[in-house]
């Protein structure tokens, strides 16, 4: 695979290699953070020195459907020994799907010293690198975070409705079957959280995993990503783009690729996604 610096990304520094992580796993100014879909995985073995951030219990409000507020983020940072000056590096399973989700939540609090380890767990494993089952602990820090800022990287329901009415650009990163509305539920099981199937009118279908090389989980080159998003699907990187999936996790992976690898400056993640849109009364749907 081509070195990260040679792939033509607009912000190549947002990705770090497995070599870089191996060299910095003991660096006190760097915190490696594993975030997975399968929350059992971390305990079976992780990058030495890595801490675990659980997307359900650490990043989500435990009552409302929303993310943690400033106090919750500060407490989390204190728990994992991170200060505003700490460089955080995310990685995880499923080609960094959940790592990008955690990265995105950190951006809502302005922690910009943040990177993603290219290839995630898959690449680390394929390279035969060491796993650790030791859970590291770090001295608690005092982290003063700003209030969560949803405006830059996140878009909420009312604005999404207006954006759709204006003919805004959407990218639907779910599977083609979900996009087409043919997959709403599995046999003998009622549904997966939405009353209606289909997609937001005008949305382009670009399943999230098309941005990665499946053999090692690394991101495709800028030229390949441009071919995918711009040439084949007509996305205009100079204009606003909204990415969505089912609850905003897969689309945070696409948000990362568009924002940092292609340098599109006006990309937002609609975390309400299909579990909100597919349940809203009166909104338009295409199949």
């Amino acid at each position: 695979m081509t070195a990260i610096a040679d792939r033509g990304y607009r912000h190549p520094d947002r990705l770090v290699s497995t070599d870089w992580v191996a060299a910095h796993s003991g660096d006190p100014d760097v915190r490696i953070i594993e975030s997975n879909e399968d929350t059992l995985l971390y305990a079976t073995g992780h990058v030495p020195g890595a801490v675990h951030v659980d997307w359900t219990s650490d990043l989500n409000d435990q009552l409302r459907r929303d993310y943690i507020e400033r106090e919750g983020f500060e407490a989390l940072m204190s728990k994992i020994g991170v200060t505003p000056d700490t460089t955080v590096v995310f990685y995880g399973d499923k080609n960094n799907w959940w790592a990008c989700y955690a990265f995105w939540v950190f951006q809502l609090f302005g922690h910009t010293k943040a990177h993603v380890m290219d290839g995630g767990r898959l690449k680390w494993q394929k390279e035969g690198r060491a796993w650790s089952t030791d859970t590291p602990s770090f001295p608690a820090t005092i982290y003063s975070a700003p209030a969560r800022d949803d405006a830059r990287h996140r878009i909420l329901r009312d604005e999404v409705i207006q954006f759709q009415k204006r003919g805004g650009q959407f990218v639907d990163v779910r599977s083609p079957e979900e996009y087409a509305g043919t997959r709403m539920h599995m046999p003998e099981y009622p549904n997966e959280g939405a009353i209606r199937g289909g997609h937001i009118p005008g949305a382009k279908s670009v399943p999230w995993a098309r941005a990665i090389n499946p053999e090692d989980g690394t991101f495709k080159t800028a030229a390949e990503l441009t071919a995918l998003y711009v040439d084949q699907n007509g996305l205009n990187g100079a204009e606003d783009i909204v990415a969505y999936c089912r609850i905003g996790e897969r689309s945070s992976h696409t948000w990362f690729a568009l924002t940092y690898l292609l340098g599109f400056e006006k990309v937002r993640n609609y975390d309400g996604s299909w579990t909100e849109w597919g349940n809203l009364v009166g909104v338009p749907i295409e199949k």
Partner: protein
């Protein structure tokens, strides 16, 4: 009286008593470590789609083989080496249900996934795991 078979209810009771997330994780990982791949006398790779657990992202397969006494023995394969949750559930289902009559296995409800894993699974993974229970149910019904 419990709606679940005795061994399954006992396991669910154990999990119900584990409120600490770390302990629950370790318990599930212990089961995943006990996972045994389907033996070659039951099935060999490549496995047929009729035993595939649909919607399971870890590419899991399940079999229900009759014992001499008419009960069933469950077997599983999990092709994703990182499929820890799938392996844990497979080991739990084997421990709790193997050796029971098909009629009892066919009654097991996928809601046990939530009781075992709690809310700490994504919707997609939860569906895959529930689908594993439904697959076991469907396999058992073939032997009614």
């Amino acid at each position: 009286m419990s709606a679940y078979p005795e061994r399954l209810q006992a396991l669910l009771d154990v999990f119900a008593g584990v409120t600490d997330t770390h302990e629950r994780t370790q318990l599930l990982i212990d089961f995943a470590r006990r996972f045994k791949d389907v033996p070659p006398e039951v099935a060999t790779r490549p496995f047929g789609d009729d035993h595939l657990v649909k919607h399971c992202e870890s590419e899991a397969y399940a079999w229900a083989v009759p014992n001499d006494d008419g009960t069933l023995k469950l077997h599983f394969a999990v092709e994703n080496p990182s499929g820890v949750s799938a392996k844990a559930l497979a080991a739990i289902l084997d421990k709790a249900l193997s050796g029971l009559p098909a009629a009892e296995i066919a009654k097991v409800d996928p809601e046990i996934v939530e009781k075992l894993f709690r809310q700490n699974i994504s919707m997609g993974k939860g569906m895959g795991l529930m689908s594993m229970v439904l697959t076991v149910q469907a396999l058992a019904k073939r032997h009614l």
